[in-house]
């Protein structure tokens, strides 16, 4: 494929064929624009405000270090590619990729924060991970790594493992610098110590160890009485370098890591990854495996929403719902264990299908579970959501309008609570979701109570889809037979002919060389829309894997949602948001 660097023309309209053998180009986005560094801002602005085809939402900013890439189109020698993924949820999930080649080791580019509010954290992440500086950004600091970190982890010259680096030591001076008040460092410029009248404000560090923050999340607050004047989330305590790990793992052995991104989501994390790999390799998944994937995804959606419901109740001070929903979730886990062998981290999907077939008699436990489930959801509704105390605590708290949701890149149930009917399963169906009957639950209030109502409704719809899966489940294979990239290869046939044996040996022992190309897939996860951008250089492991998670985008909205409210409301907002720290920090 030949890239025309400065023209706006989509790649396939340039009329050239793949110049590289097996290069599959960029899959999964509608248009790709290559734009020069100094024209990027204007191009994005033009795309955002295009009267015919506007892109109101920034979905993700990805930077790719191209320095070790082998299979590059002729004439390309820039160091980094910075790409903006713009998105229009209203027009059938219309996606466009703006690619900007960056020269030099420490490049600078104009920040797009004036255009998109949510570019704030995405640009900080790119700066942190790749060392690309955004000029005009108001808070160009590290976001996931600690402030004292040296180097930019996702660069190819940064060591992969701690053992390749000298032991981590913190000098006395550094320690003194980050002690006491200086621990505020990351929010220092942001947090005001005094209000307009010169009164001193109380600074409260909520977290990283706090019973209400669902994990190692730290929120710096300035309080005026109990009213929050400034809210500044500090993230990164749960950062494990999931994207860097992908560059060492084979395409296939990365699947278990996906489970750990949103650890309440189970197979819904694996799904976008394997879908992206399958899209890259051109694998057609058997029907039975697809239905199994849908069924598991919906079961995990139930699991996720049940945990969310219980913990949200706990956040607003109701201690009982969590036990009811965990009982329900335990029953679901028994079903998941029966099917996959795992519970929270099933590691069940494979590139090309599923790891094994359903066990004999799998329908009965699921039917048994679904029998009373709708009634239970109504019970939860009566127990918590219909409670007058709950209503006064969540109504008009953490309100967000639909326009703001687009601006902040809010997706999933949180978006639907603000009046949108957007659901990827309906708008851009994957895995054959168009074949299932279900409604998109939506609410117009956009506050915490609406978020609760939407998720309760979604649980009933998910149960509906699971029932249809049981009825629809076709007979047949669960692993694609016709593609060399489908993994794992069939063990039973290895003893029949030498080709299969060699293929099996290489695939298992070495890993499969995926075709060159880039592939993007986004799906409707329980928490929102998650997108996996896989870059393959024709090797056994991804050249770059970008994981765009919903929790990251949602956590970024926290200051906007909670500023001016009471401290108690912060917990209601956090609870209603439904995030997981592993999903934010990756």
């Amino acid at each position: 494929m030949k890239f025309s660097r400065s023209v706006e023309k989509p790649v396939w309209e340039s009329g050239t064929t793949n110049s590289l053998k097996g290069d599959r180009g960029i899959q999964g986005v509608n248009d790709v624009y290559w734009v020069k560094q100094d024209e990027a801002y204007d191009k994005i602005q033009a795309l955002k405000n295009d009267p015919q085809r506007p892109f109101p939402t920034l979905f993700d900013i990805v930077a790719i270090d191209e320095s070790e890439r082998q299979n590059r189109p002729a004439g390309q020698d820039h160091r980094y590619t910075l790409q903006y993924l713009l998105w229009n949820p209203d027009r059938g999930s219309d996606k466009v990729l703006v690619k900007v080649p960056l020269e030099g080791n420490d490049p600078k580019i104009k920040s797009i924060t004036p255009l998109f509010k949510n570019a704030d954290w995405y640009e900080r992440e790119v700066y942190d991970m790749m060392g690309v500086t955004f000029e005009g950004h108001h808070n160009m600091r590290r976001i996931l790594m600690p402030d004292w970190w040296q180097g930019h982890p996702l660069r190819k010259d940064h060591p992969n493992r701690a053992t390749e680096m000298p032991p981590l030591t913190i000098s006395e001076e550094d320690l003194a610098e980050y002690d006491g008040w200086e621990m505020l460092s990351s929010g220092d410029s942001y947090i005001r110590r005094k209000d307009e009248d010169g009164n001193e404000l109380m600074i409260l560090n909520l977290g990283p160890n706090h019973p209400g923050t669902h994990g190692v999340l730290r929120i710096m607050l300035t309080l005026n009485g109990e009213y929050m004047e400034d809210v500044y989330p500090v993230i990164g305590y749960h950062h494990r370098g999931a994207e860097k790990m992908a560059e060492r793992q084979t395409f296939h052995s990365y699947i278990p890591y996906c489970d750990r991104i949103d650890y309440l989501g189970g197979t819904t994390n694996e799904l976008p990854y394997v879908l992206a790999c399958e899209q890259l390799a051109g694998i057609k998944v058997p029907e039975r495996a697809t239905v199994m994937r849908v069924m598991l995804a919906e079961i995990y959606r139930l699991c996720n929403h049940l945990v969310w419901f219980g913990t949200f109740g706990h956040d607003v001070g109701a201690m009982t719902p969590v036990f009811y929903t965990f009982r329900e979730r335990e029953n679901l886990f028994k079903i998941i264990e029966m099917i996959t062998g795992g519970r929270m981290h099933p590691n069940f999907l494979r590139i090309g299908g599923c790891s094994m077939d359903l066990p004999v008699g799998w329908q009965e436990p699921i039917k048994l579970f679904l029998k009373d489930f709708d009634a239970h959801v109504h019970e939860y509704d009566n127990l918590l959501v219909q409670n007058p105390i709950f209503k006064t605590r969540t109504r008009d708290v953490g309100k967000m309008s639909l326009a703001d949701c687009y601006e902040w890149g809010v997706t999933g149930p949180n978006l639907r609570a603000s009046g949108s009917k957007f659901d990827l399963r309906k708008v851009a169906p994957y895995c054959g979701y168009e074949g299932y009957e279900f409604e998109v639950v939506s609410h117009t209030d956009g506050d915490c109570c609406a978020r609760a109502t939407v998720r309760l409704g979604e649980m009933i719809q998910s149960a509906r889809i699971i029932r249809q899966c049981i009825d629809l489940m076709p007979e047949g294979e669960v692993m694609s037979r016709d593609n060399r990239y489908a993994f794992p290869p069939r063990k039973a046939e290895t003893m029949m002919d030498i080709e299969t044996l060699i293929n099996h040996f290489l695939a298992v022992g070495w890993g499969l060389d995926m075709p060159v190309g880039e592939s993007f897939v986004m799906i409707e996860q329980p928490k929102g829309n998650s997108g996996y951008y896989v870059v393959s250089d024709g090797r056994t492991s991804p050249y770059r894997l970008r994981i765009r998670t919903p929790s990251f985008a949602h956590m970024q909205t926290l200051p906007a949602l909670s500023r001016g409210h009471l401290l108690s409301d912060l917990l209601a907002v956090i609870g209603a948001m439904d995030f997981v720290l592993a999903d934010i920090d990756r």
Partner: protein, 351 residues
């Protein structure tokens, strides 16, 4: 000794010789304090068990049969834990705070009559209700001082919330009590119980009863009014910095307060030791305490039940509820009661 029994069984309490009065108070007081503290320990177990049943759990069952030895294990654990005194606290207030809460909670029980005979109340004060109100207001100082002396932000927020809560609820609580006092024509709890021999005040004072129960739950700082220690928001609130036995005193103080407040509700609105019917084969002197304890048991269960059901209030909503609804309603209740007494002078204690 014979003389002692004779005197305390026949004469009214005011006419007892001071020595007899002191002996009676000491003995009954000792029994009550002992019973109360072990009851509070077992109340913790009861609460955990009842909550567990309501939440599809088993509850504590490792220590002894049905977990009956759990309170002992808890006490041993709390006694042997390190009693840490953080360097940044205001030492004397920090130590005094947990003592105050226990003291006020236990002292209040002195005025509660347990049964018909005179000697079943530690001290029949003629300003019994005032005494209870005064002590319950003092109890809040414990929370405020704990929050203040801890010199920690979460504790300070907890202390502030407790203050806000107190000023919102003391008024409606005392105002609803005042209506009961008007009916009985006395501030003595004993007289109030006697006034209910034919008709319990809950029937004459339904609105006052509801207001009082809500205020009492708020007073005890239990869910849904547990704002000063809301763990999701301010970690542990006022007792964030406390450990070991000092923490245990707060913990026990809460449960003693639950027992005490259940006694007060039963005494003022549910006829105290008056029963609905005579229990056969039981001497009259014991029958009163049995009825009273049954009512108290129900209210303790009620407190736990509420805790399992409701989410927590936000503190501005709580103030709103207190100032905008409860206080006007309690004033209304007071006026209605006054009108009632003028129209029907034979009601309650106004013979």
């Amino acid at each position: 000794m014979k003389d002692f029994w004779h005197v305390i069984n026949t004469l009214p309490q005011e006419q007892w010789p001071p020595l007899y009065s002191a002996i009676q108070s000491l003995i009954l007081g000792g029994v009550i304090v002992g019973a109360l503290l072990s009851a509070a320990g077992y109340l913790v177990l009861l609460e955990r068990k009842v909550l567990a049943w309501m939440q599809h759990r088993v509850g504590p069952n490792r220590c002894g049969p049905f977990g009956l030895l759990q309170p002992l294990a808890d006490v041993l654990k709390l006694l042997t834990k390190e009693d840490s005194l953080p360097p940044f606290v205001d030492k004397w207030l920090f130590i005094a705070a947990p003592a105050i809460i226990m003291l006020t909670a236990i002292l209040s029980l002195a005025v509660v009559p347990f049964g018909q005979p005179q000697w079943l109340v530690v001290k029949d004060l003629n300003v019994g209700i005032l005494f209870f109100l005064a002590l319950s207001s003092l109890g809040v100082y414990s929370i405020v001082l704990a929050g203040w002396s801890s010199n920690s932000k979460y504790a300070a927020l907890g202390g502030l919330r407790a203050t806000a809560q107190m000023i919102s609820y003391e008024l409606s609580m005392s105002m609803s009590l005042l209506a009961a006092v008007m009916l009985a024509g006395s501030l003595s709890l004993n007289k109030i119980v006697e006034a209910q021999s034919s008709l319990w005040f809950v029937i004459l004072q339904p609105l006052g009863f509801v207001i009082f129960v809500i205020s009492v739950i708020a007073e005890s700082r239990r869910a849904p009014f547990d704002l000063p220690e809301a763990e999701n928001e301010i970690v542990a609130g006022f007792h964030t910095e406390y450990s070991s036995m000092k923490f245990a005193l707060f913990f026990l103080g809460e449960y003693v307060a639950v027992v005490l407040l259940s006694f007060v509700i039963s005494t003022i609105y549910l006829g105290g030791y008056h029963g609905l019917f005579d229990i056969p084969y039981i001497p009259a002197a014991i029958e009163g305490p049995i009825w009273l304890l049954a009512k108290v048991g129900f209210f303790i269960f009620f407190f736990i039940w509420i805790r399992a059901t409701y989410p927590r209030f936000r503190y501005d909503h709580l103030m709103e509820l207190g100032w905008k609804y409860m206080i006007p309603l309690s004033v209304l209740n007071l006026i209605a009661t006054a009108v009632l007494i003028i129209l029907f002078p034979t009601l309650g204690g106004h013979k």
